[in-house]
């Protein structure tokens, strides 16, 4: 029982990560009709916003410390962050410690600009092109973006820990009346889950309850008519792309304490998030979220020791197996609409 509760928690956690990425993808596909293979790269760039902010915060000048020696036996060069000179040691340590949450503020404008530039500079020209071309040009862009990141940051993962305040775990077991220390879950992962839930609700509310959202939804349904009504739908679609980029980027920022960011983390997520989107049904936002959680939970349970012993290798294939079963029983995924991307 405890094991099942724990895997369920873990599945919800994983599901929220899938759902968040799939949401951004569906947002772009649903509004602009573009299949964006560079979405994983946006996620990765978001994560590297954290790394960049970390670098900025720890921007240092060198002080030669004669009391210590470096690995070659020369007097050690100690890096002193500028911020330490300005705010003092304690305050600067706190600021650096909180660099991941701070990176959210940093990432929002950066991702918005990247998203808008991407849409105006490239994606715009591909609205009328076949989906295969869209997939390929964005795939090419993804390669270029990740190679640029690799050029500046290297291939190794770079640690970006959560603030000390979020270290440690929350004991669900005691809350539910089980023995202590049996069902524990790390605070930061709970934060991530809450953050994902917040973003997902926010996006839905935005589309449902604002005029902007209403126009965009109308544009999704019938772009031409909305245009005839004298509404500049293009501008709104550009904003939607920027929004999707911000969603992907923030997902990346918050993910850094969970997995140390590296340049190929976007590609690692890309295929799985596409499976999630398609299983949810192309163009369906609720479908993407639902599929994210279903696949996350299935993955979690398939990784249980007892299950692997019974079915070796199931943890490797469960997502794909589930995708095949769902697509064969429900032709357009969980909540997909007829005629979307079927030809």
């Amino acid at each position: 029982m405890e094991a099942i509760v724990l895997q369920l928690l873990s599945g919800l956690d994983g599901g929220s990560a899938y759902a968040l990425i799939a949401l951004g993808l569906t947002l772009i596909f649903g509004t602009l009709g573009v299949v964006n293979f560079a979405h994983g790269a946006l996620f990765m760039i978001g994560a590297f916003c954290t790394v960049t902010l970390q670098r900025i915060l720890t921007l240092s000048h060198t002080v030669i410390d004669d009391t210590k020696t470096d690995f070659l036996g020369n007097p050690a060069k100690v890096q002193v962050p500028y911020i330490q000179d300005w705010f003092g040691e304690a305050a600067s340590a706190t600021i650096i410690d909180w660099s991941v949450p701070l990176a959210i503020l940093f990432a929002i404008p950066v991702m918005l600009v990247i998203g808008i530039v991407m849409e105006r500079g490239l994606i715009k020209h591909f609205y009328k092109r076949p989906h295969a071309d869209q997939i390929l040009v964005t795939f090419g862009l993804a390669i270029v973006l990740q190679e640029i990141i690799k050029y500046f940051f290297g291939a190794n993962p770079i640690p970006a820990p959560a603030p000390d305040a979020f270290k440690g775990s929350f004991d669900f077991g005691q809350l539910l009346g089980f023995e202590a220390n049996r069902i524990i879950y790390p605070y930061w992962r709970l934060v991530y889950f809450g953050f994902a839930a917040l973003i997902i609700t926010g996006v839905f509310a935005f589309l449902q309850f604002t005029t902007f959202g209403m126009v965009v939804r109308a544009g999704m349904a019938d772009r031409e008519t909305v245009g005839l009504l004298g509404i500049d739908i293009d501008k709104r679609f550009t904003m939607m792309f920027g929004l999707a980029a911000v969603v992907a980027g923030l997902a990346g920022v918050m993910y850094t304490p969970i997995n140390s960011p590296n340049y190929h983390m976007g590609m690692d997520f890309l295929v799985i998030s596409f499976v999630v989107v398609v299983v949810g049904g192309m163009g369906s936002l609720p479908g993407a979220v639902l599929a994210g959680f279903v696949l996350g939970i299935l993955q979690s349970f398939a990784s249980m020791r007892e299950v692997i012993e019974f079915l070796p290798g199931i943890n490797q294939v469960v997502i794909y197996l589930a995708a095949i079963v769902i697509l064969l029983t429900r032709p357009r995924g969980l909540l997909g609409k007829r005629g979307v991307m079927e030809d």
Partner: protein
Amino acid sequence: MFGLTAKNTRLLFLVIFLVAFAPFLMNPFPSDSAMAQFNAGYPDLMQRFVIFGIFAIGFNILFGLTGYLSFGHAAFLGVGSYAGVWMFKLLGMNVIPAIAASVLVAGLLSVVIGYICLRRSGIYFSILTLAFAQMMFALAASVLTPITGGETGLTLSLSDPRILGAAAVDGNIPVPSFFGLEMRSTYELVLGSWSFSFNTGYYFCAIIMVLAFYASIRIFQSPFGLMLRAIKTNQTRLNYTGLNSRPYTLAAFVISGMYAGLAGGLMVAMDPLAGAERMFWTASGEVVIMTILGGAGTMIGPVLGAGAIKYMENIVSKINKTILEQWFSFMPDGISDVFVTLVYPFIGKGWHLTLGVVFMLVIIFLPGGLVEGGQKIKGLFSRKKPETTPTDGAKTPAE
């Protein structure tokens, strides 16, 4: 001629000419010059050109004609490779049983996967094929290790039975051969400071590729090919005429899978090793990229695309900073440093960046792929107005 239209006959002869003289065409620079870095006329790379050409030709039969975008095609190449290596292990080092087994196993597998996946169309079909390929990759790399060799790959060993041949020759594993003609044997032709390699394995692959190309042209021309194009144009309308299109798409899928198996078989015939990463989604993506880069739906496009990708992978990735500094050493110090710094991110370990940039440029400016680029260049030089609507469908890449 050979049952082909005049235009296609010309195309076939062009391909024959290119593959027959590839050892010369690929080695245009003297082998001791600085430009020798760009020579691609060594056996391994030439073999790769034609083998991936076959793979892409086969993929194009499915994608270019029917518009079904399979995102798991590398799975057939992978199982073809495994079947081939197992033939080497069990029977002996003759390449014929290995290649036959590769084609057969890939064909059987594509019947099963095709039957299931073709129940859906569009992106749902793509994701189904992707899911199958990813499952096969994951299992081959892990739990199926006893059959597949796992992540290390399936290799030959001295203790293999090889019932029709020797298990070992002089204490070493024998090499793949065609009735005694070793695939790796090479003649070197030296003309002044140029050198050219004529490799048995390359010509073996080249002959098979010409046959495969010929078969593909025949399919494109045939009523069957026409039916496949009809499916691409409007499957719903076709179904309304009372025609069941599924057998046609399945046939195309299986033919295409067998081409992939053939390519897998040839890969192990040239180099007897099969690895799971041949089935990874990036490998499937690579053949999509090759086909579209060259020009989907055209006959020669996929071959050109395969060549371009393999060239970048094998040549650009080998240029290192020292070589770069040699190239620019004729310039004054400061300027050469600038050039080295500018070019450096794109070569050696940065070859992926070059690939991504080239790829994006082609997709943006040449929707019909390299073939369209060729037509545009031809249009510049010929007085006739360039054809605006090529009949081979270069302008309408499938979805």
